[in-house]
Point group: C2
Chain length 348, copies 2
């Protein structure tokens, strides 16, 4: 007959105590004499007993799972290498503590709020990681009302009861602008993500303040982070009266699309136009010219976010963790500003 795995009852019987006491011994709770505890643990070891996750889940109300809701448009998210590394980082921690990562995808047919609610029903997850923070993000109140623990990636623009883990996106953009300024560029532009997304806004603001700091003529264009809009924005900028000599993109994906646009117009990169990306994707290193880009340690971000969320689930106080600054890797897509006749006369 198929040997059933041992249960707490087997251990209790073998050790000559009650089920409750076995549980107390296992969980290091007071009220068990050292001697009894040792005997119980020894019996458990002999029998090879480990408590059933499902039974624990029933009696504690915990699911031992954490949720990640992806809400961006498919095209944009699919190309974002951030998520795979980030998820690997989450798993580095979760797999060590017996947690599991539940992935949910919000689509046009399945609203984001519905997706969160679905995870909260029956407490399918103990907590969630909230990414791509938006202005006055309605998800934060929702998650709070649903009774889920949470950690946000980036600092929200309002008070929340949640912990946050963030990197200084602004520092990465600042480094890119300084690099371009050092190369002699005077008219630069930023192709930003949606201003309603906090990290996109942070990058835009950092771009504008860095441009001011270095005395540059600057313009920003808002996009949805997609290659399509990145290409369109690039075209619009190059069609302007005084086109920029350098463009700082808010992701590699748009930068590569921008590269295509520049080439179609016969512009040399970086001869006529310098380009910087963000994310430092693998493919960015193999296009021609190889992309100068800003990199964040996504895996470490995932590890820290997971640890922070687990702390929150265990009832720790909210904390705001700040990670190392992103770094700029200079490759071939940035070079000295062209020395043509057009001065830096106009803003737009």
């Amino acid at each position: 007959m198929p040997q059933q795995p041992p249960t707490i009852t087997d251990v209790a019987r073998e050790a000559g105590v009650s089920k409750g006491l076995v549980s107390f011994a296992l969980n290091d709770r007071p009220g068990v004499s050292a001697e009894t505890r040792a005997r119980i643990l020894e019996v458990a070891r002999e029998l090879g007993w480990t408590p059933s996750l499902r039974a624990r889940s029933l009696s504690t109300g915990r699911s031992f799972a954490c949720g990640l809701v992806l809400g961006r448009s498919p095209d944009v998210i699919a190309a974002d290498p951030f998520f795979h590394s980030f998820i690997a980082g989450l798993e580095d921690e979760f797999s060590m503590s017996g947690q599991v990562l539940v992935l949910a995808v919000a689509t046009p047919g399945r609203q984001e709020s519905e997706t969160y609610r679905g995870l909260a029903v029956d407490k399918r997850v103990d907590g969630v990681i909230v990414t791509d923070l938006r202005a006055h993000d309605p998800r934060l109140e929702l998650v709070d009302r649903l009774g889920l623990a949470a950690v946000t990636l980036g600092v929200p623009d309002a008070e929340t009861p949640f912990s946050s883990v963030s990197v200084d996106d602004g520092a990465g953009i600042h480094a890119a602008v300084r690099h371009l300024s050092d190369l002699g560029h005077r008219r630069i532009a930023h192709i930003a993500g949606p201003d309603g997304m906090l990290h996109a806004r942070t990058r835009r603001q950092a771009f504008e303040s860095a441009a001011a700091e270095f005395g540059l003529v600057a313009a920003s264009v808002e996009t949805d982070f997609s290659a399509a809009e990145g290409a369109a924005a690039t075209g619009a900028l190059l069609d302007g009266d005084a086109p920029p000599t350098a463009i700082v993109y808010s992701n590699d994906h748009m930068a590569i699309a921008g590269l295509g646009v520049a080439r179609r117009r016969g512009l040399s990169v970086p001869g006529d136009l310098s380009i910087t990306g963000y994310d430092d994707t693998e493919i960015g290193r193999y296009v021609n010219p190889a992309l100068t880009s800003v990199a964040t340690d996504a895996r470490e971000w995932g590890r820290v976010a997971a640890r922070t969320l687990l702390g929150a689930i265990e009832g720790h106080d909210a904390v705001n963790v700040r990670l190392n600054e992103p770094t700029l890797t200079v490759r071939e897509s940035t070079g000295p500003a062209p020395t043509d006749t057009r001065g830096d006369r106009r803003d737009r």
Copy 2:
């Protein structure tokens, strides 16, 4: 006081029956009179009772979750838009049946077999989707031994007790080769994925047989699907005695890297070299020239895979589902073969 949600006991008491009967009525099991069943369901509706997932999970041994293990190297997978669309498709089905998707990532520090085992311990998932099938894939025996239900993406090269959902990768490659043949190309090459991966092998074999069918001189190079190896393989081919006039890549990522290599050598695409990708990524449409590519309906694949897996979990017989053929989208990266002096004399 915080009103507790109603339990099966409340329903039983209110309906004047036992807990067991409520359970039978809810699950449409025989042995309950139509009249009693109706009364029980009515009471349940009035009380707003829904059975506790955790209690169900404990008593049935099901977890109401399915697992997806990602095992490819981070760089490759991150750039693969297939997965996001595929996952969205999985969720289309899972979210409708109260299932949840558990994502696990195998990394150099956490072997694939360990990852599967982690999902099987305590039956954290009822079944798994096995992607990127390999030759004599050891995961299939492992999954079987772990007692998990499973569905494979693609048809394994050995008998398994599992269902499969597949697309005819070969048809996509065949279409690409025919397209190139029609354009007059006679020396073509294929930059393939690892031959140990069944879909990569299928594509290579389809390439070779299509090349033979059209009387072309063909060469294949094996890579790991990464941009780095795609670039290296492209360089090696172009350095050969009789370089190909067209290259069929096994993914867009490598095709874009190959484009970079060609450009660095001053080759015009498609003037001197035609290029086709696979996956039809968004970014491929915005590089210059825009990529001719083969597309699969990944979301539909996900939906069908989810349905098939749920069937397997419920004990249905194994089935082998075949999806629609992939389609070739012609853009700018393919054109007439160059009419230079070199004949099609040599193979590789």
